[in-house]
Amino acid sequence: MLLEVDNVTLAYGRIQALHGISLTVGQGEVVALIGANGAGKSTTMRAISGLRPVAQGSIKFDGEDITKLRADLRVVRGVSQSPEGRGIFPGMTVRDNLEMGAYTRRNRSEIDEDMQRAFTLFPRLKEREKQPGGTLSGGEQQMLAVGRALMSRPKLLLLDEPSMGLAPMLIQQIFDIIVEINQQGTTVLLVEQNAQQALSRAHRAYVLETGRIVKEGTGAELLNDPAVKDAYLGVA
């Protein structure tokens, strides 16, 4: 297993957000976390990327216990996140944003190679290369956030709501790209409210409710699960 999250609990002050989450992501998989607002999806992501310390439980990545590892060192180990709300740097140009994604790396020619790869994946970013990130549209910012997360050459890519606020056409496109990234060899853990898209693209998925995992299965299984259909797919 590339990532093993074991019985992790996490609290914001006195409000407990995660009540013992356990999940695994295998090498080469696309795994989705779905659930309603406030279910703890983003919090789980933050625990994995190290933005929030966990109270209990452990997180193992690539055979190493990273539960107490600093966030910046997790990037070096190969965990990269495209955060909720995109978190692009508004005053930096598109190119500088991508450069920031390669912050932990030194090899110039490899970085340039990956920059080209990002521009191939997202031709729109190439067009906007010298524009400040803050001037991009929502969809372009999302592309930038994903492209930037790829710049660290991650083993595990964490995508938090990549479809948030996007037009249906763009949602389709961004999921196509996620699949493409995965086929090029990057493992993906995905948080989504768009359960339809997430489940149909993911190998496996977990359903979160109020800080607990209530269901897990392959994408297809969950797509056909009556309870999931009822709660998350908007079809009775």
Partner: protein, 368 residues
């Protein structure tokens, strides 16, 4: 497109400057430097000269005041403008620098028997002390964000002031007298005397130039890039692999160092300091200068720092009826700041990036 709009599109004055060949840029910089060093003689320029120079305080002294305010603004700009950390207690570092110098040199100091150093010897120790103060304050507090950090820094400056007021070692109001001046002789007389402030201004100017060069280099390095990322989005910076606490501490320590420079210069020129000098108002004033000039941009910080010192000094000695306008300096000053902030919220010489960030934050508050 009108000519003016076109000029803006091409980056205005800064864009023009950036496109010039190296020799043109060198000449422009050299001329600006010469003019800066000639500032003490601005009064001799016909017509405009007398309008510029101060009346109630001798002009070279006013210039020296401007120079240490500019230093403080440059230092605070690193903390607030580059790293985006709101520090409301910046005067604390100025105080540490000044008191460090006083303790090591003044005959009033309890350490005098053991030290009684010359000014120049005290400088590195006092500066090291301010950097340590920056780290000691920063280490526990830089994990806080935004408003919380502002409150803690506010507390820090007050602690320093109250400490200076109440402890016998720091002598409160009585202060430290006979702090030695900077060294050097010219034609048998000391360069840095009591009556002529011009050499102090020049010294301040040299220090300012050194600080500008140092900060510019840092800003263009990995450190600067990390600051920028932290300021624009601290969490995003962290998940890019920036060790945020380390670079925030750097910003604090460098800001403290520059503030300390202001303090040692101040102590060296005045020859006397006491706890009255380091009131909270002072911190707020410098912050106002940075914001007014254009946070995140050194040229802006320099202009803002100079103005916060110049405006009140210029008002000195001008009477309205039977009151000196100087008495109303803070009211008038407040008015000037309000006008500037209404007309130009990004500051007089804004950083383009900062302007973009402000726009971005507006979007967050009120999505279109």
């Amino acid at each position: 497109m009108s000519e003016k709009a076109n000029f803006r599109e091409n980056g205005g004055v800064r864009g023009w400057f950036g496109r010039q060949p190296t020799w043109v840029r060198s000449v422009v910089v050299a001329v600006a430097l010469v003019l800066a060093f000639l500032l003490p003689y601005a009064g001799d320029v016909p017509l405009i000269g007398p309008q510029i120079v101060t009346e109630g305080i001798d002009w070279p002294s006013a210039l020296f005041n401007m120079s240490y305010y500019v230093l403080l603004a440059l230092g605070l700009n690193v903390v607030v403008g580059y790293a985006g950390l709101l520090d409301l207690g910046y005067v604390g570092f100025f105080a540490v620098g000044a008191y460090g110098t006083a303790l090591l040199t003044s005959p009033d100091s309890v350490l005098y028997a053991d030290t009684g150093w010359k000014w120049l010897m005290a400088v590195p120790v006092a500066l090291a002390l301010t950097m340590v103060a920056g780290l000691v304050l920063g280490w526990p507090t830089l994990r806080l964000r935004g408003d919380y950090l502002a409150i803690v820094t506010l507390g820090f400056a007050e602690i320093i002031r109250i400490f200076a007021t109440s402890t016998t070692t720091l002598r409160g109001d009585r202060g430290f007298a006979s702090i030695p001046h900077p060294p050097g002789e010219w034609g048998g007389k000391p360069i840095f005397g009591v009556t002529d402030a011009v050499p102090y201004f020049w010294l301040g100017l040299v220090v300012i130039i050194a600080v500008i060069l140092g900060v510019r280099n840092l800003d263009r390095s990995r450190v600067g890039r990390s600051w920028l990322a932290i300021r624009e989005d601290e969490e995003a910076a962290e998940i890019m692999g920036v060790r945020t606490i380390k670079y925030k501490l750097w910003a604090f320590a460098i800001g403290a160092f520059i503030g300390g420079l202001g303090g040692v210069l101040f102590a060296g020129e005045q020859g006397f300091i006491n706890s009255q000098t380091f009131v909270l108002q002072f911190s707020i004033l410098v912050l106002a200068g940075v914001v007014m000039g254009g946070s995140g941009n050194m040229a802006g910080a320099i202009l803002g720092g100079a103005l916060i010192s110049y405006i009140p000094d210029r008002l000195r000695g001008i009477s309205l009826g039977d009151t000196d306008l100087y008495e109303y300096r803070f009211a008038m000053f407040g008015l000037v700041i309000i006008i500037i902030m209404v007309l130009r919220p990004q500051g007089l010489i804004p950083s383009r990036r900062r302007a973009m960030e402000l726009k971005d934050r507006e979007k967050e508050v009120a999505p279109q």
